[in-house]
Amino acid sequence: MIELVSLTKRYGEFVAVDALSLSVPEGRITGLLGPNGAGKTTTLRMIAGILEPDSGEVRIGGLDMAREPLATRSMLGFVPDRPFVYEKLTGGELLRFTAGLHGMSGSVVETRIDELLELWDLVSWKDQLVESYSHGMRQKLILSSALVHAPRVLVIDEPMVGLDPRSARILKDLLREFADRGGTVLVSTHTLELAEVLCDQMAIIDHGQIAVAGTMADLRRAAESSEAGLEQLFLRITRGATDLRIASLLDALG
């Protein structure tokens, strides 16, 4: 459903995403993992059409993003890593606004808004300004706004930020159901446990390139340690400093 073809993005001289190719199939949940600064957010922002790649292609549903920006974006629901929305709109108005951006309005939208808010227990907050929402409530609202126009593809940068255990559970179930119904889900995450239980397949990126990609079994094979958990795997693949001198650091701090 999403095809990335040697996608490259530079910030000045610095190459944040380096000829990255990836294929994200329908009906699956794909996880994007990688250390801080690996290029996950940059990649997702290019898929969402917020950033333009320097070279390479983003294809969604067979359409080229650069050639048909509107058609590709209308298939998409995007959730950024930081939940900034219009502070002076109410939750209900924000959802109506997002639906409107996708050319949708009327009773279909209204029912959908109510359903989404019900799902997150936000019904009593529908007419409150977003500025009085807590961090987790904003995250739920933005998740709702990504879903309100019934997208075929969900792209979520760090989905669990700020969510309580109950809401996190709801989101997991929701993404699973969404994928089971043929939707495409691409999430970036740092939580390895989450990736392990949620994702059907994963891609670990490092320095803007795919280090490995595939299902858990594929990844294990790549790391050549059939018994190791995902954490060992991740650290090995990204050459993580397993010999962190935490104790001596804390000693030094007194």
Binding site: G49, S74, K88, F97, D127
Partner: protein, 565 residues
Amino acid sequence: MSVVSEYRLLLRPKWLAAWRRASSARSRLGRIVLLGALGAAAWPVVYLTLVRFLAALRQVEDIGPLLASRLLALGLLIFFGLLLLSNVIGALSGFFLARDLPALRATPVDGLSIYLARLTETLVSSSWMVLLILIPVLAAYARVFDAGVVFLPISLGALIPFLLIPAALGSAFTLLLVRVFPARRSRDILLVAGLGGIAVLVLVLRVLRPERLVNPESYRNLVEFLESLRGPSSPWLPSQWTADALVGGLEGGSDFLTWLLLWSTAAGLTTLGAALHGRLYPTCFTRAQEGDEQRVRRSGGTALLERLLSRLAVRRRELVLKDIRTFFRDTTQWSQLIILAVLVVVYVYNMSALPLNAGTTISRYLTTLVLFLNLALTGFVVAAIAGRFVFPAFSLEGRTLWLLRSSPVEAGEVLKSKFWTGLLPLGFLALILTVLTNLVLDVPPVLFGLSIVSIVLITASFTAQALAWGVYFPVFESENAAQIPTSIGGLLYMLGALASLGLVVLCQGWALRDYFISGLPGRAPRSVAISEAVVALALTFGLTMIGVFGSLWAAEARIESRRSG
């Protein structure tokens, strides 16, 4: 750490940020070229015009130099009012809304350091534009009155307290207001600030009494006129002290008392502000954290608005609705409409106070001239208002831009909806201004029609220009919409808008030149020929449409190209 080193530490990130913004590789060349062109254009124009004007004034026996110093005092008074207002707005941001405040308050930094650092920030962000304008003005005074190099330190010595006083006053005022009004009622703060602005305007109006200048006969004799000029206009105002100090410097002698008054007031107010800050700030800051009104009720107004907009396509309707809602719920925005209303009243009042209907030939000619000036002045007012309300439109999207960019809407659609939401109220305002003043001036029908169409076209052009400059010079970091137009982009917009206004006025003047000449004493007066009006209109139409479409096109191109950055 001592207060001084803490103070320097607190300001350091701001310096660095400002420096890096100015010198970032991508913007360097463009900015240098732009600012260079700007400086090359604006300063000499102000300087040379003033030099000529002052030199002419100086020739006038007796009252010439007096008038010149009076003019300086008047200018400083207006600046003082503006500085007060912008310092109140700036202090609201710096002391209460800035995003780095929570983290800062969690550190063991002395309250005095915070006060001094934020006061400096408020002062700089509110005053730089006034300072920029004052440089060529003071240079012209120095030139015409043959002041030596000593005038430079004298100006500095007089201007520092002149800028410090409104900064200290404005900050203290903001603090007290946050204290008096519970919770985050920035609404009330700005309301009161708006009232303060009104007071200043009324004051200026009273001091100006523009009708008297036009009609010197209202003084019984020259002696009375001179008398009214000689007495200090307002001995209680720091702007008057500054003017006295500067004029003293120009004439080579300075009154020690003036300097003492100026500096001791500045020092005293700063100390007082620091003491107030020490006592009240913790409570006030806590209060400022509470949300504004919580629940939004559906009022009749909203329902009507939705009905009105229901004919638009969904995307445009939602974009427009969102812009209107966020505008009226942001108190730093709508509260300034009050100032606007007063501006209109003051303007129309001034027009009606002009002694034009005396029936003499000269007054008839004056009327035509004033009619023309009216277009320029209304244009100026509209340009300023567009700068205040339309220029920040794109900046305000800042952090939420991701939502628009990841949605299937074109940049052009967003711009168009912002253009129309800006143009409708602005055009309405411009129309009211023009119609009222035209009625007051008793303008003949053809010119009446011409001025109405012209002002609407000009307003459209300003709206588009303000949008475009806002896209090219966005201020994404600000939490306070009222502060955004005080950025460099706001200044550039204003200059660009005024230049385009000048062009329109020139073209109309050229098209109507024969008519004006016919109004001169000794010629046969006639009314405007339709053909003349048509030429004037066509020229205006062409110029303003270039303004509208050029700006919108440039803005769209810029938004599209920002994706790659």
